[in-house]
Symmetry: C2
Amino acid sequence: MAAPMAGKRRSRTGPPLTRERIARTALAIADREGLDALSMRRLAAELDAGTMSLYRHVAGKDELYDAMVEAAMEERDLELPDGDWRQRLHALMDALRRILVEHPVGVQIRLRRPIISPGALRLTDAGMGVLRQAGFAPAEAARVFRTLFLYTFAFCAFSSPADAEETRRQGQAALLRLDPEAYPEVTAVGEHLVESMYREDQFGFGIDLVLDGAEPLRASP
Amino acid sequence: MAAPMAGKRRSRTGPPLTRERIARTALAIADREGLDALSMRRLAAELDAGTMSLYRHVAGKDELYDAMVEAAMEERDLELPDGDWRQRLHALMDALRRILVEHPVGVQIRLRRPIISPGALRLTDAGMGVLRQAGFAPAEAARVFRTLFLYTFAFCAFSSPADAEETRRQGQAALLRLDPEAYPEVTAVGEHLVESMYREDQFGFGIDLVLDGAEPLRASP
DNA sequence: ACCTGAACACCGTTCAAGT
DNA sequence: ACCTGAACACCGTTCAAGT
């Protein structure tokens, strides 16, 4: 299907406007230049269409945001590896992290409007399956997953690997400006604090803290 | 000091413009109507000043954001209660949560530009003091604190108590629309998932998971 | 019926003109 | 020297005019 119709005079170049093509192009702009750079006018220009033509497919900017999150969540498979429940949850959270690293704009958008779209729930479904199979009761499974999700989300929000070096430099500069009298503890352990903000293995460390804490809640399977 | 000069003809009403007064007014607008509603023009109008007069005190909008976060972090005392290290960390994270609940706009701003300002570091200093006194080595203390901070931040980002009821309703509506075949796990435990998003005690639950996980890393004091 | 340009009511910031 | 209005180059969205 999707047979290319012949020489129909279409508005301009390229494939026709669809909600999905609009969403993907919007994602690309926002990921490349930040959410502030994404305007309806700019997006329309990129798509070689009139600004108002977009409104045929998305009701307005908010609905555009929804479509962008769905597009981001759906493009990656969530395949669970073999292994115990801990390894499987690590893998799921790594997948979420990769999605948010690839589409950093997803963080900002999801904060603007908490979205419980089908696409976003695939991850939740997989996570709940792992936790329940591991012997967690439904209520505890939900709450442990929520904790993992929130941690992962914030981790991505605050540390895109792209600017790890920049983070390190800014952190160290801030430390040097600090008054040791007023901030004795931060001054004493400053180096470790800075490291905790950009170290690659900090992500897994936090996940493990939560999983270690959750372990006792698990009924033996 | 700060003697009020007598009948000097000042631009309009009220006290003179200062960086702090600008920041507080900006916070009030953004907390009340959202970050999108905060514009330089609107802010100037609220302060009964010309738009360009603001630029005398803040270099631009980004620096305005910085000033807002500082103002928000500095207005609340961080007094540590008596108790063991766990109770004290609970109290600190509760304090952070209250700040972010009071100034929900802080979440969005801090995501736009990670700020390591002195005001924001008071909390870190207190937290590191508690953890080190409890017997954590500097590196572990830093990483445990980072985990707690990230969890707390995301928790506030996703669940302002103000719209807990709205969250619940939207969550339940989303569940009903869901295809049970495609999302078996979410369908099976849906109620618990929705609850984990708005239950008041979910916050403490997550903190406890992290603290339980951290406990074994602690050297006996 | 479908599509979309002009127009409206906004932005942040530069810059030159006011005092 | 200090302050700030007009102007510039943008926004999202309404609405009526085009095909």
